[in-house]
Amino acid sequence: MIEIKVAIFEDNKQLRESLKELINTAENMVCIGSFPDAGKLVRNIEFAKPDVVLMDINMPGISGIEAVHIIKEKFPAVQILMQTVFEDNDKIFAAICAGASGYMLKKTTPQKMLKAVEETYQGGAPMSPSVAGKVLQMFRSQSNITKHEFIQLSVREKEILSLLVKGKSYKMIAVECFISTDTVSTHVRHIYEKLHVHSKSEAVAKAIKQKLV
């Protein structure tokens, strides 16, 4: 049985403890560490070696988005699922650009939370329409920013992205494009990856920082 190793970063004590318990009750997951902030982040991750990280955006000290940057630099294999009350698209987008695999609102039901962790582990996290829209915009305005690192979305990826913008679920997209939901997930993952790489390029990182952070 695969046991997904989950690390939790959350400053609210109640939520942190209840999440830990929730994760531990799930059969295929285990919580290998829970931390109130991103201090000693690298050491903690080194020590815990998680597969998935639940990261709160609003934390004292190093912000959640900063933490994502750091983790992705040192531990690129770790998948990060952002947690937040805020539906602020800018923050979410910034998190994704920083390297998060997806995000989850705290108001989601516990069952959905567990599902989200699973999906993240499997590499396909859902993307809300507004975030998808922002991603498209990002790639559209590329020509203005980059010169050399010209990372383009494939035709398929663009298609899926535009469907996502319309608010279609993975299921619906799969039906419309005559592909399986897994394929959709894969495409979305690729989009994320391209976004990460894309956003890593200096000029773009700057542009993002100016607009979002």
């Binding site: 805020f86 516990p110 939370m113």
Partner: protein
Amino acid sequence: MNNAYRNISLLAIFLLCLNLGYPQNSGIDSLKKLLQIQRQDTNKVNLLSEISFVSLGHLPDSSIVYAQQAMHLAEKLQYEPGVLNAALSLADAYTTTGNYPMAIDFGFKALALAKKTNLQLNTIWASARLAQCYYYLDDYTTSLQYDRNIFTIVENSFPDSIAFICTDLSRVFDGMMQQDSALLYAKKSYEQIKAWHYEGWYTVIYPVLGNAFAGKGWYDSALIYYRTGIPVAVKNNVTTDIIDSYNGIAKVYKAKANPDSAIWYANKVFAEKTAISYPIGLLKAANLLAEMYELKKDPDSTLKYLRKAISIKDSLFNRGKTVAIQNFIYKEQEKQQAVAASKLKLQNQFWLLFVLAGVTAAVAVGWIILKNKRQKQLQDMRNSIADDLHDDIGSTLSSISIMSELAKNKSPEVLSLLNSIGESALTIQENMSDIVWAVNPKNDRFENILQRMNQFALEMLDAGNTVLDFSAADLAASKLTMVQRKNLYLFFKEGINNTAKYAEAKNVWINISKKKQHIKMSIRDNGKGFDTSQQYNGNGMKSLKKRAEDLNAVLEIFSSINEGTEVRLSFKIT
């Protein structure tokens, strides 16, 4: 290195020496230059007097102007020594230009001031001017009186300077035809002049000597003195002495019955460029020429020079007027200068005010900017606090919902209670989330609302495997107010909630469009429907109605059993 320093210091010293030289004719220019930068103080008065004195010899009219300025300024500053000096200069200058009444006027002024100062030199100078004026006015007696006064003082106090008063005495005696005394004093004067080597610049001694000798009939000696004196006078640019010399020589030749030479020398007077400033000299020459031409039986020339003599006399008379006009013009200029000065002052004040206003404006602007900055800071702080609160509440609520979920497994018998707890927590979170969303100005645009509605509908209906068809026209341009936003969204939520709860529909069609200034929304399903007449006022309907009222909207509900339901909303946006 040392050589360079030595050379430079030598050069410096050399230049310094040049500057220390006694002001010559070019010195007037340097004095004038100095004048330009001088402030309105006693130094300026003295400077003006100096220029007046220096230009007296060849530019008597300028001399007058400067002396007048000196006087004016000195009076303004109540600087008596300056007034005295100016008076003396004016007396001098007016004497030279032939305006004796004015000269005497200033002479008396100077004398009065001189007596106040108890400085003998001042008395001497003032008296000397007066003596000269009376001499020129042919009032030799009065002139002699003053001269004698001077002689007494000088003999006692300044015996080394006896030469000057002796010259004057000689002159006046000559005028009185007392040739012996004239010669006596002339010689006495000349003795001392030579002893002190003043002959280089005390040019007046020569024509005086010449006149004295000529008076005694010793024409040759007279001519020698005249001739010696001319180059000296020329060198020193003393018009009066040059002309006096020429006149003297002409007179001698007249006496020697040599009319041509007399005429020649008399003409030289007229040839003198600066003669115009010494009308008495011109007059003498003109009279002599008239005489000579008469002797030569040349009536035209005689007439010519007689006429000249008359015109000179006239001009002498007019000169006084001209000077008076000059005086007037000068005073006018002064007035204008004062006006300009006050204008400048006003301008400066205006500029000061302007600068002050500018500074005040800058300060005000800066203050406003600072205030705005602070306000923004305050707002940011508020936002930050609100965010923290939101996060805190949201997180805790989430934990409640999680814990209630976990509790369900542990205590299945209280399932329903735990469900309630969990639902409550979720509801609060939802509502809070909605409020935060509605209040955020970033969500002003319609597309944000559509997105949110779409997402909500998806989530709601996905559970029941209902297929959603969400279509909205391009309403990007439309904007809703915060209140409208909230109400529309809540209406929508209510509608979808109802559909999800009761309709049991396979499909749901949501359509939002805009017609003229109205937004139209339609929620249609193909569920089991209900009897509109009966349940119209049920709970679900109640909240729909309320939201519609808040929007000032028209609400229509159509439903028939097993054929589905449609809810239509139409409201106006500005």
